[in-house]
């Protein structure tokens, strides 16, 4: 059975591209677009890995990640954070919130696949 990834991102075309990319790599991909209900989606899907955007409608990815880390079921779930910002402080904020790794948009597809594979093997 393939591993599941939950992609929490609000840009429809990015969702399609990443979903296609990860599906072709053997992942079962679920998607969610709303920051306010993202935790419900995490609880429902119990994914093996989460790809989480920082800028989401309703709630920031940092806040969502902090709650993911507080929940016993998901405290160890690998999380890859995506952001449109590339400043050092954003990287620090992501890692402080509990991200396993951090990628800045725009990214190369190969880079994304490498990061996801590395987290899955971790």
């Amino acid at each position: 059975m393939s591993k599941t990834v939950l992609l929490i991102e609000d840009e429809p075309n990015i969702i399609e591209a990443i979903s296609f990319l990860l599906s072709r790599d053997g992942w079962s991909v679920h998607t969610h677009s709303n920051g306010l209900t993202a935790l419900d989606a995490v609880a429902e899907r119990q994914p093996d890995l989460i790809v989480l955007d920082v800028m989401l409608p309703g709630r920031s990815g940092y806040e969502i990640l902090k709650d993911i880390r507080r929940a016993r079921d998901t405290e160890q779930t690998p999380v890859l954070m995506l952001t449109a910002r590339g400043q050092m402080k954003d990287r620090e904020l992501a890692l402080e919130a509990g991200a396993n790794t951090f990628m800045t948009k725009p990214f190369a597809n190969a880079e994304m696949l490498d990061a996801v594979r590395a987290l899955a093997g971790a």
């Binding site: 840009e11 591209a17 449109a84 910002r85 402080k89 948009k105 725009p106 597809n109």
Partner: protein, 433 residues
């Protein structure tokens, strides 16, 4: 006023040198010719905005009119020397100004230019860092570029791709290209306005502030309690282009009207003289809250006082600027301001002397402040009311050694106080751009 006895003479000399008729100059600055005549014959004191207006029209530093060229040049040279960390003192400045008057004026003009440029840099940095519209546009552009890059790579790298996926990705790229065009145009529009740092307006709050500035923060028709006065100011105000700004201004003028009714202008000005400008005594005399008195002092005709109001979240909702006390247009300000301390001590009036770093970081500017927080909205039984804090900022000529002074800053990002315990982020003023 120092040197007032000859200020009128200087104005007269300057006017004649510029070839202006007395009546023409008077009309241009909005006073009667007879009043200007009295000023020019040193029979009326002059200062504040009127002096500024005359100086601007006569194309001369206001201090040159009020204090005389020599004193003003020496004082300004000393200030420039101090600012750039040069030792010298008044004797050197006097000698320099006397022996090389043209060079002395050049130094002063250059220092003024540095001031203007630093102010522009500060404003632009503030905007580029905190402007919500710029941040949103950049986010949109980066997201779109991400989508295009990821999709184009898939089309390029995937050898066998189903036709429906290929068509979908082509459509997505087409959509994203259109979005990218819009985003790029928005960015160009923003950057086109960057060279005019002062005029670019990007929020209802700024429109509102510009509206108040256009009237000098004083509304004579409301003071005179004319019927429909507030509406007459609001109607067609060119500064209030958005409905949000109009709503903010309407609320503000209603509050102004209330203050003016409770503290009529003439009585308030008389009481200011009697009470020495003490806000608590004034509040008692007029049976009003202290915040109202602070607002009233800041909006008197030609008042040089600054005023800042924040809501319970610390968001600044009113900014009346005062020279030497910069208030960020976006983002957070200095957490050490009494304005914010007042929020934790509602209904208490805080009085504090503050030192702010000068623009160059050499030396401090000195201010006395009064701050208070009071409820503005009840949230229901058993709930704390919503608070609003108000701070009056009074410029001082120098430090008042009879009371302690607290070092504060404008905002961490442009504050040179490296060792401040309240610092949130490094300063660009110390780490450089």
């Amino acid at each position: 006023m120092r040197g007032h006895a000859s200020a009128g003479t200087r104005i007269r000399e300057r006017r004649i040198a510029k070839g202006l008729r007395q009546a023409t100059l008077a009309a241009e600055i909005g006073i009667s010719a007879s009043y200007l005549n009295l000023i020019e014959h040193n029979r009326r004191r002059i200062g504040g905005k009127l002096l500024q207006a005359l100086a601007q029209r006569l194309e001369v530093e206001s201090s040159l009119l009020s204090e005389g060229a020599e004193q003003a040049v020496v004082a300004r040279l000393s200030s420039v020397a101090e600012r750039f960390g040069e030792e010298g003192g008044a004797a050197d400045a006097t000698e320099f100004a006397t022996r090389f008057p043209a060079w002395a004026n050049l130094v002063i003009r250059a220092a003024r230019r540095v001031d203007d440029l630093e102010r522009s840099v500060e404003t632009l940095t503030d905007r580029l860092t905190h402007d919500p519209h710029l941040a949103a546009t950049l986010h949109e552009v980066l997201s779109t570029v991400t989508s295009i890059r990821a999709t184009a790579s898939i089309l390029q790298d995937t050898k066998e791709i189903e036709p429906e996926w290929r068509d979908r990705f082509h459509r997505n790229i087409n959509e994203d290209a259109a979005r990218l065009t819009d985003g790029a145009e928005a960015l160009v529009g923003f950057l086109d306005g960057v060279d005019d740092a002062q005029s670019e307006v990007s929020s209802p709050q700024e429109e509102f502030t510009n509206f108040l500035s256009a009237y000098g923060w004083h509304f004579p028709a409301i003071e005179a309690q004319r019927s429909g006065a507030a509406d007459s100011y609001l109607k067609g105000a060119p500064q209030l282009s958005s409905s949000s700004a109009q709503a903010i201004a309407e609320r503000y003028l209603a509050c102004y009207e209330d203050d003016a009714r409770k503290m009529p202008l003439v009585q308030f000005q008389q009481a200011m003289q009697v009470q020495g400008g003490d806000p608590l005594k004034l509040a008692q005399e007029f049976s009003v809250d202290t915040a109202g008195v602070l607002r009233r002092i800041a909006t008197l005709p030609d008042s040089t006082a600054g005023l800042i109001v924040c809501d319970a979240s610390g968001t600044l909702v009113l900014r009346k600027p005062v020279e030497g006390f910069p208030v960020p247009r976006f983002g957070a300000s200095c957490p050490l301001w009494p304005l914010f301390q007042a929020l934790s001590r509602p209904m208490t009036t805080l009085s504090a002397q503050l030192n702010l770093p000068t623009r160059s970081g050499v030396g401090d500017s000195h201010f006395h402040t009064y701050a208070t927080a009071q409820p503005v909205l009840s949230l229901g039984y058993g709930r704390e009311p919503l608070l609003e804090a108000t701070m009056l900022i009074l410029p001082q000529d120098g430090p008042d050694t009879s009371e302690p002074a607290f070092p504060v800053g404008p905002s961490c990002r442009v504050c040179p106080r490296d060792a401040c315990a309240a610092r949130r982020e490094p300063s660009i003023m110390t780490s450089g751009f």
